[in-house]
Amino acid sequence: MHRDVSTPNRVLLALTLVAVAAWLLLPLASLAPNRIVPGTPLHAHEAFGWAGALAALPGLFGLAALAWRPSARRLWLALALAMLLLMGLPAWLALAAALTIDPSQPQARMGLGAAFWLLLFCLALMVIELRSRLALGAVAGWLLGALVLAAWWLATPWLEPLALWREYQGRSDQFAGAVVDHLLLVGGAVGTSLVLGTGIALAMRRHTGVERIGFTVLNFLQTIPSLALFGLLLAPLAWLSANVGWVHALGIRGIGWAPAFLALLGYSLLPMVRNTFVALSGVDPGVLESARGMGMSRGQVFWQVRLPLALPVVLEGVRITTVQAIGLTAVAALIGAGGLGTFIFQGLGQAAMDLVLLGALPILAMALAADSLLGALTRRLDPRLASGASA
């Protein structure tokens, strides 16, 4: 499905236009003498002078030129160019910091501006567009992402004044712990809900009564706001912890990981049960009948036919649940469950937006990574992907 070679790639052209406008018109960063004072915006032309700001444009115009009459070779060149620009993005910040921040002010810090975010967004979209035009697989996509992250990581020594980096350095020990806590909570809740959810879905398939009650309860759970659910769990768990020895010994308290885990589990169960149930019920009855008719035992029908055919839809449920749990776990920080949400709420409390970002960006990255990994796994498991199920 390659487009006619002679038609310009409109997506790339439009994105280039937005990127150029952002670079020239919007602040690239903001400068503040210390953590408390709000920053003043810094445009590219203020940092580098108009000559310097315009000198940065040929790269973007190069992309537009390559997109004008795209051929496979030009698209490859465009991909290389977009990747270079994306990987080099922090270099502009480093340069701006070196040019504008007085070395005698060790507290001075640089925030990220609208132009930076827009450039990041446009360039990332260009890479995605080029990846799909060039029909590169999921592995290539991850490689490109890893390449960008590696380049940025290498640039960190020159990004000393960047507020985000400062916040990270102040909390580098906590950061690793928060990421692990976050992943443990998400992994625990999703893993448990997968086991439990499969059990519930199987019970629902056997008894219609269980099906009705189960979905009613799970739907109800889903409608409770997350903060309220954390609050609701507080009292009973505190009581259990105070009165039942082994509950206390397990480390369960009214606040902390226990209520967070239970609430996450509650929210995860509905999408998990629903998808598993639909997946198991949605297997073509003709296929199941012929499996029985060929003389397969109940167990053989389930393990060799029903489950493998249901698996892509079950995994879809795992994907939805995981992405949802990654986001919800951020809120769990409010009741002392730890995780990356801690930084978000600390940052909100201190009006330090860069600290909020330190919590929010890794959550975003986790959600995207989980989504693409599980999505790729689902596609791998489904041999009918290309043309869908035959009628």
């Binding site: 073509d284 012929s290 008719g293 060929m294 003389g295 397969m296 493998p308 055919l309 043309s387």
Partner: protein
């Protein structure tokens, strides 16, 4: 040999099959026909116990089917359904090898059998073995379905509207193949269909069902010539019945020796059906045809009067 004795099936209060008795001889292709919901599919499934009968006895080779272990019974009986029921996550070769693997045949034997069946059903190994069902056309998928049913060389084949979802041309060619296959393999086949032409073309014996009961059974010709009531007559095509009969009879059965009269121009093969002969007459505006053999040599002649079965020709 399959025998049903006073077999009844009830679903709740509904009686789907009502005390039917039926005997299907070894090597016979028996078609169960009737309108939707007449109990023909239910009857078929009671033979391999996908549905358990409520009353009466179902016998297979002299033993009650209930005495068999369900799975052992089904592995001995081939089963083909309209939607093919192929496993979409398995390749064609793996699908065909299902029952032999369930029977724990050695690997090499399974592979050899799969290859043999693919050849038998006109599915070249190198082209189809690795394909998935969704990559096949309807006709190819149903061929794989038949190959899978034949895999463990069962004596009995149950077919539930196997060609019902195919276009007319594919359906006809698969019917021909099945007839050809049956003339070589001599399986005992129970075939459910609501397509009367299909039943007439394939069956040694027709069993007409209505509301869970058997209304009439017999050879296609017996039913066409002597339907027991209006229902059977209309099921068989009403006034079209005569035309349907012409598809069952061969020119060779009605032709006469060559007469001294001038041989007609229009000709028809000895093995053609009377229907084809009629078509030639209609097209050529002729009431006499020369009957020829494989070498296009005249071996007899056929007049319209003989064709329609009048005793004497003048």
């Amino acid at each position: 040999m399959i025998e049903l004795i006073e077999v009844t099936k009830r679903f709740g209060r509904e009686t789907a099959v009502d005390a039917i008795s039926l005997r299907i001889e070894r090597g016979e292709l028996c078609a169960l026909v009737g309108t939707s919901g007449c109990g023909k599919s239910t009857t078929l499934r009671m033979i391999n116990r996908l549905i358990e009968h409520s009353e009466g006895e179902v016998h297979l080779e002299g033993r009650q089917v209930r005495e068999f272990d369900e799975q052992v019974l089904r592995r001995r009986i081939g089963y083909v359904i309209q939607s093919t029921g192929l496993f979409p996550h398995w390749t064609v070769a793996r699908n065909i090898g299902l029952v032999p693997r369930l029977l724990k045949w050695p690997r090499a034997k399974v592979e050899a059998r799969v290859e043999e069946l693919m050849t038998l059903l006109g599915l070249p190994q190198e082209q189809f073995a690795g394909k998935y069902p969704h990559q096949l056309s309807g006709g190819q998928a149903q061929r794989v379905g038949v190959a899978r049913a034949l895999a463990a060389d069962p004596d009995i084949l149950l077919m539930d509207e196997p060609f019902g979802a195919l276009d007319p041309i594919t359906r006809e060619s698969l019917q021909l193949e099945l007839r050809d296959l049956q003339s070589r393999l001599h399986k005992t086949i129970v075939f459910v269909t609501h397509d009367m032409d299909e039943a007439l073309a394939l069956a040694d014996r027709l069993v007409v069902m209505r509301a869970g009961r058997i209304v009439q059974q017999g050879t296609p010709l017996e039913l066409l010539r002597d339907p027991v009531d209006d229902f059977v007559a209309s099921l068989l095509g009403g006034n079209d019945r005569g035309l349907k009969e012409t598809t069952l009879l061969r020119v060779g059965e009605r032709m006469q020796p060559l007469s001294p009269r001038l041989l007609p121009q229009a000709r028809v093969h000895r093995d053609a059906t009377l229907r084809q002969a009629l078509a030639v007459m209609f097209r050529e505006h002729a009431d006499r045809l020369a009957v020829v053999d494989d070498d296009d040599m005249a071996v007899g002649e056929l007049s319209l009067r003989r064709l329609v079965g009048a005793r004497r020709d003048e």
